[in-house]
């Protein structure tokens, strides 16, 4: 299986749009996505939101982008949570300071990592640890648990 690339960011955002711009810019600068990835994710979020109502709520914004060169996850830890509407019920919102922006190149070859990612996001203990870890530890943790 092709390994994921990881980017860890710490940032400030007042809205999910600002948060997605931070992630999209970083993914583009790393040569992973096209320059408009953030905009694609923002547009998609309007119609099909990605907030997860798990014990520790997170969001997994993503979008189809022909320009994606590698499977990657940009993890953004915000100083203060922002609102995302829920994937399962878009009339409801969750607040999260942990955003996992997914760049997915070929989903059918990437099933295991996607499954691992969902297991990871449902694991309250791991997510609690992630909040305390250094960037290097976070990347190691993601590599170990997601792939």
């Amino acid at each position: 299986m092709e390994k994921n690339k990881y980017i860890v960011l710490h940032g400030k955002a007042n809205t999910k749009e600002e948060a997605l711009q931070l992630c999209g810019d970083a993914l583009y600068q790393a040569g992973i996505t096209s320059p408009n990835f953030a905009q694609l994710c923002i547009e998609r979020e309007k119609e099909y939101p990605t907030g997860l109502p798990t014990e520790i709520p997170t969001a997994i914004p993503h979008a189809k982008d022909e320009g994606i060169k590698a499977n990657a996850i940009c993890y953004l830890k915000l100083e203060k949570p922002v609102a995302f509407r829920r994937m399962d019920d878009d009339t409801q919102e969750i607040y999260t300071d942990m955003i996992f922006n997914l760049a997915i190149k070929d989903p059918n070859k990437h099933i295991k990592a996607l499954q691992n990612m969902m297991t990871f996001l449902n694991n309250t203990e791991i997510l609690q640890q992630l909040r305390k870890q250094s960037d290097e530890e976070i990347i190691a943790c993601l590599q170990e648990n997601v792939g």
């Binding site: 399962d88 019920d89 989903p107 059918n108 449902n122």
Partner: protein, 99 residues
């Protein structure tokens, strides 16, 4: 002999959550002894693609009217009510296979 059930699994972009749900549905069908043929799609494609399948599953809310049996399967990608969702999927697939 039960018939093959054609399944549409759709999510917002047809990329992430429908891929995960598709794998989960394959497993459920296998355990239930139901033959399934799964196609993936986006939620925007549901109105047209529903015509080629027996049942529609989506990982996000879908509120428009449908001609085919429909189930929201968010529980298959999250642990939120996973067992309940698995049971509903299984029951629906078994019912359709024996129609």
């Amino acid at each position: 002999m039960s018939k093959e059930v054609k399944v549409l699994v759709a999510c917002g972009s047809g990329v992430a959550s429908s891929t995960i749900a598709q794998e989960a549905i394959k497993e459920i069908a296998k355990d239930a002894g139901v033959n399934v043929r799964i196609v993936k799609g986006t939620i925007a494609e549901v109105p047209t693609k529903q015509n080629d399948v027996d049942v529609v599953f989506t990982t996000a809310n879908y509120r428009k009217p449908l001609n085919k049996p429909y189930l929201s399967v968010f529980g298959l990608i999250s642990n939120v009510n996973r067992a309940g969702t698995e049971k509903k999927v299984k029951d629906l697939l078994v019912k359709l296979a024996n129609e």
